[in-house]
Every structure is written in structure tokens, then in C-alpha cells.
């Protein structure tokens, strides 16, 4: 491992942006153009009356790189605010996954049993398949997906992480 990798750390960054065309391309282009990595990125409009969206990006880098990422995001014209949830105090991270498992007989029953333990919900069911919905920390989703592999895992769709700080403060 190089020195840079050693002090590299994962950060969850939130940005409030004008929901205008091209804004996501601008953010993604910034990351690819400057060689920053994106572990996950989620975006949706969170304030329709003001047309503001919230982007949550999980990235990793040395403290200097993370500072750069925030400064570079902050100077994009349609970006209002940038927060680093990882360093700004305690926060909650969640991810949602839809997981399709196909099979019959014992494996099918087993998948349902495990789903129950993980508190996954069945949102679609046919004679030979289930679609489970599961919310939680990414590691929990990983664990569930791993357990489904031998039981007929067909498809996984994940949202990527959304995050919010704990307590009464806004971003």
C-alpha cells in the first residue's frame, strides 16, 4: 500500500444543487475529469418549490483530496451548499436494495427465512421468484446479497447511499 492509500478515507458528501439540466453531468464530469473516485452517487429533487436537489456522494481520498473535492464542488455555479457528513458530526446512512431471487422448493423457503431475519419485505412474488426490498446500512445489504447467491440470486438493484446528519441542524 502506498502512503497515499494509507491515509485515504471514505467520506460521505452532500450537496444542494439547482435542479437544472446538466447539473449532474457537471458533478460527474468534475469527478472523472479530476480523477476523483465515486463509490456511490444518489440524486433526487428534495425541495420542488425551489427546484433544489440533494446529491449524496460517497468518495474516498486523502484529507487534501477531500478538501479539494468539496472546494471544487462548491465553486460549481449551480451548487448552493456542500457538507461533509463524515467529519461534521454523527449522521445516518441508509441504502435501499431490490433483490430478485428465483427458485423453488427448499432454497425458496430458505430465502424467505433469511429475508425475515433481515427484515426484508417481499414486494413481488411469482411461483418461482421473489423480489425483496431491503433497507439499511450498505454492509447489511452486502451480507444479504451474499446469502442469496446460493439460493438463486438473479438481479440486484441498489440506490447507493443517502445520508443525513443527526440532531436538529440542517445541512
Amino acid at each position: 500500500m502506498t502512503d497515499v492509500e494509507k491515509c485515504s478515507r471514505r467520506h460521505t458528501i452532500a450537496a444542494l444543487v439547482d435542479n437544472e439540466s446538466g447539473v449532474l453531468a457537471r458533478v460527474i464530469g468534475l469527478f472523472s475529469g479530476r480523477g476523483y473516485n465515486i463509490e456511490s452517487l444518489t440524486v433526487a429533487e428534495t425541495n420542488p418549490s425551489e427546484k433544489v436537489s440533494r446529491i449524496t456522494i460517497v468518495t474516498s481520498g486523502t484529507p487534501m483530496v477531500i478538501e479539494q473535492i468539496k472546494a471544487q464542488l462548491g465553486r460549481l455555479v449551480p451548487v448552493h451548499k456542500v457538507g461533509d457528513l463524515t467529519i461534521e458530526g454523527p449522521h445516518v446512512e441508509r441504502e435501499l436494495a431490490l433483490i430478485k431471487v428465483a427458485g423453488t422448493g427448499e432454497p425458496r423457503v430458505e430465502s424467505l427465512r433469511i429475508a425475515d431475519i433481515f427484515r426484508a419485505r417481499v414486494v413481488d412474488s411469482t411461483n418461482d421468484s421473489f423480489v425483496f426490498e431491503l433497507t439499511g446500512a450498505s454492509s447489511k445489504l452486502d451480507a444479504f446479497v451474499d446469502l442469496m447467491k446460493p439460493l438463486g440470486l438473479v438481479d440486484v438493484s441498489r440506490t447507493g447511499i443517502v445520508a443525513i446528519s443527526r440532531g436538529a441542524e440542517s445541512l
Binding site: D18, G22, A25, G29, M64, Q68, A71, G74, R75, V77
Partner: protein, 581 residues
């Protein structure tokens, strides 16, 4: 009004007097609107790259936003080099591009290009306008964005149907960007800390860049005032020349790869470095891990992303450098501060020793014109007039920076960040339009000048008396120099086997052509050039193999520079150094 008329009205209300452009199908309605008015002057360039460089020259020499109008597709793609240049050097530009009609976008229509997609990484911001009612707001917002904070180019992509549709006009006063509000005033406590550091310094230096020029003449005046109060030596980056008087004894010259020995040594040995509106780029710092190892660093910049990007600093101050300098001066006066005069005297003593090496000296004999000599003569014979200098890119550019002394800001335009060959002549055209009575000289290389030579036609059409001063060494000299130093003298493709006869070329464009081949012809050529009413192209035949020194080879530290040919013989550049540009 239709969308096209709204554009013209918005530009006029933004104070635009000159727009550089080139017509085409997708901007015909705008050209129609230009035809019916006389408030906005259109300058027809010969290539869209030239339009953007001309607007850059106009902007940089006036402090105003430069305006450009080009058609869709190839018009827009031709503008990309200029836009990138303006982004790298923080030049405010608004560039209007035509676009195919809204319903055709995405259909690979004739002359369609994804202009907002292509220009996203090379503009500060861009817009695709979808309704004529949005045109005025977008234009005003674009000017605000282009000039605010760290300036830069903004593209407005205008579909042809939007140009033709009727819409409502709103004036500039109604528009402010909702959220883009760059910070102007620096953090007071940080400024206090910075001033204390400066007062306590024993070997301080002011390292100032293009940000001081962008912050306006007031910022330069404050820099001079603060430098006088403190007695601190001043060095400028390539982009910052002119912010501090070039002939002033307190000026230690340009720093960086081809900066002076004294400037780079002072950067290396200082104990307090005050970086004002510069960005620690690789041409400045040399080898990063050996960059000014023992100094405390203060960095003032309007762009938070410039701070701690390459070099981590002790006192970051985000704000307009003019405003921050104003605050520093006030605190200095308020507290009756003084620098340690004993220490500064010793520091100046050291600097004077470095100076005594005379790192810029060269040998001028009687037969071959040294490029340095040509520029020194140009300086001597033009310094008493109002003169603006633009350059192309290469050795001549570095010699111009070393040998032409700039006393005031906004008189030096060069392509720093992108290093764009072809920049200088169109930039000179832009400067000349803004300053019709001034002398405007493009110090050029014979290779670079051919990259936008077509603009000579623009100069001829408007009888713009620009002077193109070509230092013709028949080589892409800077490439040849690197090949000599780093690649064993294998001059791969850097010699121009077929050059035009520049005098005849000038004449073919309807422009006066001059030539000098011997040192004793240089003064006469310059006199004739500057005393000619119209545009001139001068072919100055210089030493073909002169190298530009001093030089910090890529991958080396500031205190490890090559001073000249003799010094060079002792040097090996490492493979790691070779990998750097």
C-alpha cells in the same frame, strides 16, 4: 422583440461595445439583429478560435467581459481552444453559440454539436436557452457569472427557433444569481494572523499572480503601497507581470521555470511567503517536495479550490486580493507595524548577491541577432509610449516575459495556463480595438504565428495597426530546447522545413512586411514598424539555436536551476523529470 433582438439589447445593456464573431446558419437571426443597429460593433474574425482570443485580449486589457458570437457545430467546436484558454487564465468571456432548432436537438441535425456537453469542462458555466423569455435573464446572469469571483468563460447556447420566437426583455438590474455569491472580504482573523507573520518575518517575499491583475488596478496600487510600507521583495508569475512595476528595484523579476535566479532562490530560502492571487502551479513550484521548505505560507485567493491544492499553506485567506490587501494595509497602519529592518537589510544583501550573477545575460555579437537583444531593443524603443504586449507560446514568450518590463497592469497578455500557440495575434487585435491609439505588439515565433495567421486579414480589414514581431529561429524553439536538454539532441520534427516568406505573406494580406537579418538592422526595423500607421508583420531572423535560461528543468527544485550553456553541460535530467510536461 424576438430572441435575437433580446440578445443584442442585453449585450448593449451590459455595456458591450465590441463583439468578435463569425456568422453561420444557426446564428443568422442574431446577425440580422446586428444589421439593424449601431450600438454594438461586430468584428469579423477569420476563425472562431481567433474570436475568443481577441475577446480575451480585449477583456484582459480593459478589465471588462469579452463578447463572442459563433455559429453552431464547427463554429462552437472551433471556439473550444479559446474557451479553455480563458478558463485556465481566468479571463471573463461570454460566448454565444448558435444551436439547431430545439425540436432538432439530439437528431444529428446539420451542424449540430452537443455544445453544452462539449464546453462543460472548459467553461465556468454554460446555458442552453429554451425559451425567448429566458434570453435576457440568461445573458445578464452569464455576465455576472463571467466576471464575479474567479472570472472565466461562459457559453450561452441559443437554438435558432428561440432566436426567432418573441419574448419579454428584462434589464440587467433585475438579475442576480440566486446562489452564486463568491466571497470578497477575507476572514478578518486570518488577515490579522497574516499581517503578524509578515511583520515578524526575516526573509519575506510577495509572490503575486494573475489574480492581482483580475482584481483591478486598485489591487495593483495596494500591492505597491503594501510593498513600500514593508520593504518586502516582490516577484510576479507570468500571468501577474505588470501588477508591480517591472523596473522597480524592489522587483526581483518573474519566478518559475524560466524565472530569474534571484526570484527562485528567494522563493526557496524565504521564511514567510505571501502568495497573492497565484495558484502554486507546477511551472512555479518545480519539484513539490523541495518547494520552499522552510517558509510559513500565506495564500490569498478568491477561489477556495486553489487553496491547499498543490501546496499546503499555513494561513489561507479566501477573498478578493485587492480587498484583502486593503485590510492588510489598514491593520499595518493601525498597529504601527514595522518589519525587522536589520533582518530585511541582510535579506536584501543576499538577494543582491544572487542578482549579481546576472542570470539573464547573453552574448550579442555582430553577425547574428540574439532574440533577447531584439526584445531588449523593442523595450527600449517603445517603453515611453503606451504599449501593450501580447505573445504566442514558446521561447520568445519567455524572453518577452524576461526582457520586456511592465510598469502597469493590463498591458501584458499571454497564454499562461493552456500555453496556446496562436493566441497572440488575435489577442493583439482585441487589445487594439479597446485601445485604438496605443501601440500593440505581438511578440511571436514563426511557428506559433502560423496557427492563427488568418487573423492578419482581420487586422487589414479594420486597419488595426497591430505589430507582429516575429522572432524567427526556424525552429519550434522551445521544443528544440527540450529535445536538446532531455532527449539527446534528437530534433524530431521541430525544424520548420518549409516556412513562408513572411514579408511576402504580409503583403499578400495587404499588410506591411519588414525584415531584419543583422543586429545593426534591428533598431531601424523597430522604428519603421512602430511608426507605420497600419498593421505590420516583422520577420526578425534570430539565432536558430539560442536557449532560454535560466531554467528549472521539470522535476527539479528552485535552488537547482540551469543558469546557462556552461552550467548545462553538468546536468542530467532524471527519468521522473522527463515524464513531466
Amino acid at each position: 422583440m424576438n430572441g435575437a433582438e433580446i440578445i443584442i439589447r442585453s449585450l448593449v445593456d451590459q455595456g458591450v461595445e465590441v463583439i468578435f464573431g463569425y456568422p453561420g446558419g444557426a446564428v443568422l437571426p442574431i446577425y440580422d439583429a446586428i444589421f439593424g443597429q449601431n450600438k454594438l460593433r461586430h468584428i469579423l474574425v477569420r476563425h472562431e478560435q481567433g474570436a475568443v482570443h481577441a475577446a480575451e485580449g480585449y477583456a484582459r486589457s480593459t478589465g471588462k467581459v469579452g463578447a463572442v458570437l459563433v455559429t453552431s457545430g464547427p463554429g462552437a467546436t472551433n471556439a473550444v481552444t479559446g474557451l479553455t484558454d480563458a478558463l485556465m487564465d481566468s479571463i471573463p468571456i461570454v460566448c454565444i453559440t448558435g444551436q439547431v432548432a430545439t425540436h432538432l436537438i439530439g437528431n444529428d441535425a446539420f451542424q449540430e454539436a452537443d455544445t453544452t456537453g462539449i464546453t462543460r469542462p472548459c467553461t465556468k458555466h454554460n446555458y442552453l436557452v429554451k425559451s425567448a423569455d429566458d434570453v435576457a435573464r440568461v445573458v445578464h446572469e452569464a455576465f455576472y457569472v463571467a466576471r464575479s469571483g474567479r472570472p472565466g468563460p461562459v457559453v450561452i447556447d441559443m437554438p435558432k427557433d428561440v432566436q426567432l420566437a418573441k419574448g419579454d426583455y428584462v434589464g440587467p438590474e433585475t438579475v442576480a444569481h440566486r446562489t452564486y455569491q463568491p466571497r470578497i472580504q477575507g476572514e478578518p482573523s486570518a488577515i490579522e494572523r497574516a499581517v503578524k507573520l509578515i511583520a515578524g518575518a526575516k526573509r519575506p517575499i510577495f509572490y503575486t499572480g494573475g489574480g492581482v491583475i483580475n482584481a483591478g488596478p486598485e489591487a495593483s496600487a495596494r500591492l505597491i503601497e503594501f510593498a513600500r510600507m514593508t520593504g518586502v521583495p516582490v516577484t510576479n508569475t507570468l500571468m501577474g507581470l505588470g501588477a508591480f512595476p517591472g523596473s522597480d528595484p524592489q522587483f526581483v523579476g518573474m519566478l518559475g521555470m524560466h524565472g530569474t535566479y534571484e526570484a527562485n532562490k528567494a522563493m526557496h530560502d524565504c521564511d514567510v511567503m505571501v502568495c497573492l492571487g497565484a495558484r502554486f502551479d507546477d511551472r512555479i513550484t518545480g519539484r513539490l517536495d523541495a518547494f520552499s521548505p522552510n517558509s510559513q505560507k500565506i495564500h490569498v485567493d478568491i477561489d477556495p479550490s486553489s487553496i491547499n491544492k498543490n501546496v499546503s499553506v499555513d494561513v489561507p485567506i479566501i477573498g478578493d486580493v485587492g480587498a484583502v490587501l486593503g485590510d492588510m494595509i489598514e491593520i499595518w497602519k493601525r498597529d504601527g507595524l514595522k518589519t525587522d529592518s536589520q533582518a530585511l537589510k541582510a535579506w536584501w544583501g543576499t538577494i543582491d548577491e544572487w542578482r549579481s550573477i546576472k542570470c539573464l545575460s547573453y552574448d550579442q555579437d555582430e553577425t547574428t541577432i540574439k532574440p533577447q537583444y531584439a526584445i531588449e531593443r523593442l523595450y527600449d524603443l517603445t517603453k515611453d509610449r503606451e504599449t501593450f504586449i501580447t505573445t504566442e507560446v514558446g521561447q520568445h514568450q519567455m524572453w518577452a516575459a524576461q526582457f520586456y518590463k511592465f510598469e502597469t497592469p493590463n498591458h501584458w497578455m499571454t497564454s499562461g495556463g493552456l500555453g496556446t500557440m496562436g493566441y497572440g495575434m488575435p489577442a493583439a487585435i482585441g487589445v487594439q480595438l479597446a485601445h485604438p491609439d496605443a501601440l500593440v505588439v505581438d511578440i511571436a515565433g514563426e511557428a506559433s504565428i502560423l496557427m492563427c495567421i488568418q487573423e492578419l486579414s482581420t487586422a487589414a480589414q479594420y486597419n488595426l495597426p497591430i505589430k507582429v514581431f516575429v522572432l524567427n529561429n526556424e525552429y519550434m524553439g522551445m521544443v528544440r530546447q527540450w529535445q536538446e536538454l532531455l532527449h539527446g539532441g534528437r530534433y524530431s520534427e521541430s525544424y520548420s522545413e518549409a516556412l513562408p516568406d513572411f514579408v511576402k505573406l504580409a503583403e499578400a494580406f495587404g499588410v506591411k512586411g519588414l525584415r531584419a537579418e543583422r543586429p545593426d538592422q534591428v533598431d531601424g526595423l523597430i522604428e519603421e514598424m512602430v511608426n507605420t500607421d497600419g498593421p505590420v508583420l516583422a520577420d526578425v531572423r534570430v539565432d536558430k539555436v539560442e536557449n532560454c535560461f535560466p531554467m528549472i528543468p521539470s522535476g527539479s527544485a528552485h535552488d537547482d536551476m540551469i543558469l546557462g550553456p556552461v552550467d548545462r553541460a553538468k546536468r542530467e535530467v532524471t527519468d521522473a523529470g522527463k515524464a513531466l510536461v
